[in-house]
């Protein structure tokens, strides 16, 4: 398990949006996709995913519909709505700004002050 990072609070929603933006996914698929795109570096509790998904649906960022998975099982698939796409863009920009700022701050050396 070493090498895996705990999620920062609030970032799960962003990751879910990103994962779903790459194509419709069912719940388990979202987990796999996040694992895949994060290089298995992020640890997500499996059950914790669902409240996040339900919350995003309620906020109108995701849309859910039932379908059949590759395993030939019934599953609920999630898709990004227009609002969700917009939100993903905003959150991504916000995250990048934050990450840059923190990276810059952390990279500061005494002679630059």
């Amino acid at each position: 398990m070493s090498g895996q990072a705990q999620l920062l609070p609030g970032t799960l929603d962003l990751l879910v949006l990103k994962a779903v933006s790459l194509g419709p996914l069912h719940g388990y698929g979202v987990l796999l996709r996040i694992g895949q795109i994060s290089g298995r570096a992020l640890l997500i509790e499996q059950g914790a995913l669902y409240p996040a998904l339900f919350r995003l649906v309620r906020q109108g960022l995701l849309e859910a519909s039932w379908g059949t998975s590759d395993n030939n099982r019934r599953a609920k698939f999630y898709e990004l709505t227009a609002l969700g796409r917009k939100r993903l863009q905003e959150e991504t920009d916000g995250w990048n700004r934050l990450a840059d700022a923190i990276a810059a701050a952390l990279a500061a050396r005494p002679e630059e002050i």
């Binding site: 069912h26 509790e45 499996q46 669902y50 409240p51 599953a75």
Partner: protein, 885 residues
């Protein structure tokens, strides 16, 4: 858009609950299947893979709960669930529920009633247009709102701060509208009254200032809606009809609108007549007498932008001018403004103090109830700690558990509040139609309005939260692991807890109430057989007013003589006398007198303000008033004889220093006539306030100071009803059109005892409620302490403890608290009784009967409250107990 999604999701959650739930289950199942598929592919067999997948997923129920919350719509649903759950729990302990709901119903009901009264009497503005700028005026130095009519005219014409000033007086008159002549109560109003107040006629027209052209120039009547409805059957043809008022023809002009019942809260008149016709209505004319402060109230709307302080200053500057212009009649003409709905600050203050005090008491009782229910609730929470622990262990959040506890509390408080409100509305409606004084159209219009409902609801919610909050800390402290493992731990605290304090406070409050209600009750009983300077038993009061039959002060005395003679000839009557207004009846007459040496008869030089009576010679004998020295009055003391008076000791003390100095001495009346004191009678009670300090009084011969108001005092041993019939027929033989009212003198005191009775009854009711609360409080605590210590008590018994020891261990604490609270309450109650002494005659706590009664009551209360827990403690079977626990 987002909102829409929220509502769709919430609505879906709510409306298609089973389906949504099923979908959620299926989704989680599908997740686990997919995971198991992956695990299976990595080489596990199917069963193991599924098991592993489930374990990896974690607590399904917890996530489902979180999902439900994430979905929204959960608030309503959780609420419904909580309510259902609470109802189920409450149904399981009906005893607790009934006690709690009943307690709250009583206390919230009491609060709603008292608030209803407070609202109607103090808070609610008068039912006139622009009530916020409507003020009555009063002289700061005088009690009451009386002005003289000439002063009123000057105030009306010279002020610059009121839109207009109207005046009115309350009077009774005999009305003959064709059938039975009867007494009516009316307002004598200035012509501009309706225009100043701002009401419009419902039928016909009103009279105006322009209708006044000097004395008796405006014989008009405006009916109130109620009188029109009850006596003229809503007939519009009544306009223009001529009726006889005190034998004078008056024309009915119109009808006032339904909601308008005059401008005095407690008094609803039958109709209005112009004050310029006062002579015809009252039988006398005081319109020119500047020194006679006989106009009941002067009032009006302030001009826009004028503050009450500015208006008072304006009036006071007129007052200074009046003092200079009429030094003989006017003094201390400093004015202030007051609410016109009640007659002046001297009246408003005690009423407000009393109602506020009552409100405070009701609030205290509600607090006590909350404290009580709070401890009952936490006792229950403790008993349920195993259940709470189990629910916590199974994944319920503490929030959720607290919420169910709160739901229970609020549910109980709402049920109690609803029941209490229902009762109080019935009570208030009843109070509104109740007529406390049969002689007067006095009503207490306390119909509940929206404010009362809101207050009751808020009180219910607040009290629910208050007592719901008590067990919160307890729940937050619960450690499920410990409790499930070891069972509820019976920690026996020796230190003083908040709950103990609450109980002591509550017992103290109860003791205060019990003490003061007993003090009030004793005072009332004592005042029923107190000596008031006359003998009430075996005496009948016959009220008539000769002006209702058209007599004047000149023609009345002859008729009065004949009336007394007629009374004396009734078989069984031992004596009969006449007085213009009996002592302790409503409406005593104050007068001013001067020392004989005073030559400058200005108000500042007044020597005393005695209560003044005009009496016939036989009055003292008939009333049973003892003559201390000198002689009584005779029929020879007429207007050709020197002016004489009989006075009481307080009058003698104030004017002459002592009773012996007074005999034969002179004093001066307002008009300067010298009056000689010829006799002194015993001190009595005169105004309707039995708790009054010693009042000076003077009795004048009816022939020297005539009055058309005629009260006959008839002393007889005959049955009151037979006597009343005989009196009526005797008087009818003298004048057919004279309205006559008879009451036994005992009942004629109702007005004087009214305040005491109200105080006693309300304190008694509150005391009983306080006692009930204390009983439930002590009972709850004792029962709790017994149930928590059952095991310990069992062990003690097994080791040989006696019944006494067991009882002491189980109940000692409760009884100690009871003693402490009672002692504190008794002391406070004795202190509080001093306030009571101002309302209830002879209310003193220094009375062995009261003190003994309080101690006995509190003991009884303790016995009652601890009986069942004591029985339970004594019936412990140590063997069974130790085996089971």
């Amino acid at each position: 858009m987002r909102l829409l999604a929220y509502f769709r999701s919430a609505a879906a959650r709510f409306l298609r609950r089973p389906q949504v739930e099923e979908e959620m289950n299926e989704e989680l199942r599908s997740h686990i299947q997919h995971r198991a598929d992956d695990l299976e592919r990595s080489g596990l067999d199917r069963a193991k893979a599924e098991r592993r997948a489930r374990m990896e997923f974690g607590g399904q129920e917890r996530f489902k709960e979180e999902c439900r919350e994430a979905l929204g719509g959960d608030f309503l649903e959780t609420l419904v669930k909580d309510v259902r759950f609470s109802l189920r729990v409450l149904r399981k302990s009906p005893g607790f529920t009934v006690v709690a709901v009943l307690t709250l119903a009583l206390t919230i009901g009491a609060n709603a009633v008292v608030f209803g009264i407070l609202n109607a009497v103090i808070l609610r503005p008068l039912n006139v247009p622009r009530a916020e700028s409507f003020y009555g005026i009063q002289r700061v130095s005088a009690w009451g709102t009386y002005q003289s009519y000439p002063d009123y005219l000057d105030l009306r014409d010279r002020n610059r701060t009121f839109e207009g000033l109207a005046a009115y007086n309350i009077a009774a008159a005999g009305l003959d509208a064709g059938s039975n002549p009867g007494r009516v109560w009316l307002y004598e109003v200035s012509g501009n009254y309706f225009d100043v107040v701002g009401v419009k006629p419902y039928v016909g027209r009103f009279f105006h200032g322009s209708d006044e052209h000097g004395p008796n120039s405006a014989p008009y009547i405006v009916l109130t809606y109620k009188y029109w409805h009850t006596h003229f059957q809503d007939s519009r043809g009544v306009v223009g009809r001529v009726v006889e008022l005190n034998k004078h023809p008056f024309t009915i002009l119109g009808v006032a609108p339904p909601g308008f019942r005059g401008t005095l809260l407690f008094f609803s008149p039958d109709f209005f007549v112009p004050i310029v016709n006062q002579e015809q209505v009252d039988g006398r004319n005081s319109l020119d007498a500047r020194g006679a402060h006989l106009v009941f109230q002067v009032m009006g709307h302030l001009k826009p932008g004028v503050t009450p302080a500015q208006a008072a200053a304006d009036l006071t500057s007129i007052g200074f001018w009046l003092e200079k212009a009429y030094p003989k009649d006017d003094a201390q003409m400093t004015f202030s403004l007051a609410r016109p709905s009640l007659p002046g600050d001297f009246f408003i203050r005690p009423v407000r103090a009393f109602v506020t005090g009552l409100m405070l008491l009701a609030g205290l009782i509600l607090l006590a109830a909350c404290a009580n229910l709070g401890s009952l609730f936490s006792a229950r929470a403790a008993d349920r700690s195993r259940e709470v622990a189990l629910r916590l262990a199974l994944g319920a959040s503490r929030n959720r558990i607290l919420r169910t506890l709160f739901t229970e509390a609020i549910l109980i408080s709402l049920m109690g509040g609803a029941a209490g409100l229902w009762g109080s509305v019935i009570l208030l409606r009843g109070l509104s139609v109740w007529q406390p004084a049969p002689r007067f159209p006095i009503q207490v219009p306390v119909n509940p309005d929206a404010k009362v409902y809101v207050v009751a609801l808020v009180l219910a919610l607040v009290s629910g939260i208050l007592f719901g909050i008590v067990p919160v800390r307890q729940v937050l402290r619960v450690d499920p692991y410990q409790i499930v493992k070891a069972g509820s731990t019976g920690t026996v605290g020796r230190r003083i807890t908040v709950r103990d304090l609450l109980l002591v406070v509550q017992i103290a409050i109860c003791a205060v109430l019990v003490t003061s209600s007993m003090v009030a009750m004793r005072g009332l009983v004592r005042s029923l057989d107190g000596n008031f300077g006359f003998e009430r038993r075996n005496a009948m009061l016959v009220e008539t007013n000769l002006s209702m039959s058209g007599y004047t002060e000149d023609t009345a005395p002859a008729m009065q003589k004949r009336m007394i003679n007629a009374m004396e000839t009734i078989p069984g009557v031992t004596s009969a006398g006449l007085v213009d207004n009996p002592p302790l009846a409503e409406g005593w007459k104050p007068a001013v007198v001067f020392a004989d040496a005073t030559t400058d008869l200005r108000p500042a030089n007044v020597a005393a303000e005695p209560v003044c009576y005009s009496i016939s010679p036989g009055y003292f004998h008939a009333a049973g008033t003892t003559l201390l020295s000198g002689r009584s009055l005779t029929w020879h003391d007429d207007n050709t004889a020197p002016r004489v008076a009989v006075i009481n000791p307080e009058f003698a003390r104030r004017l002459f220093g002592s009773v012996t100095n007074a005999m034969g001495s002179y004093y001066k009346m307002r008009d300067g006539t010298r009056v000689q004191v010829v006799g002194i009678v015993e001190q009595g009670k005169y105004t309707t306030n039995l708790a009054e300090s010693l009042q000076p009084a003077m009795f004048l011969p009816i022939l020297q100071s005539p009055s058309t108001e005629t009260w006959l005092v008839v002393r007889s041993n005959r049955d009151p009803q037979q006597l009343a019939a005989a009196v009526r027929s005797a008087l009818r033989n003298l004048d057919r059109g004279l309205p006559v009212f008879t009451t036994p003198w005992n009942k004629g005191m109702d007005g004087a005892l009214f305040a005491s009775r109200v105080a006693t009854v309300s304190l008694g009711v509150m005391g009983m409620m306080g006692a009930m609360l204390s009983i439930t409080g002590i009972f709850g605590m004792a029962a709790y302490s017994v149930s928590r210590r059952l095991r310990e008590l069992g062990i003690r018994m097994a080791l040989g403890a006696q019944r006494k020891d067991v009882l002491q261990a189980a109940l000692g604490r409760a009884l100690k608290l009871l003693a402490l609270g009672s002692a504190a309450g008794l002391v406070l109650g004795v202190l509080a009784s001093q306030v009571l002494a101002a309302i209830v005659y002879q209310a003193t706590p220094r009375d062995p009967l009261v003190l003994g009664g309080v101690v006995l009551a509190m003991l009884l209360l303790g016995l009652l409250a601890t009986w069942i827990p004591a029985q339970r403690a004594l019936s412990i079977d140590p063997l069974r107990l130790l085996r089971e626990e």
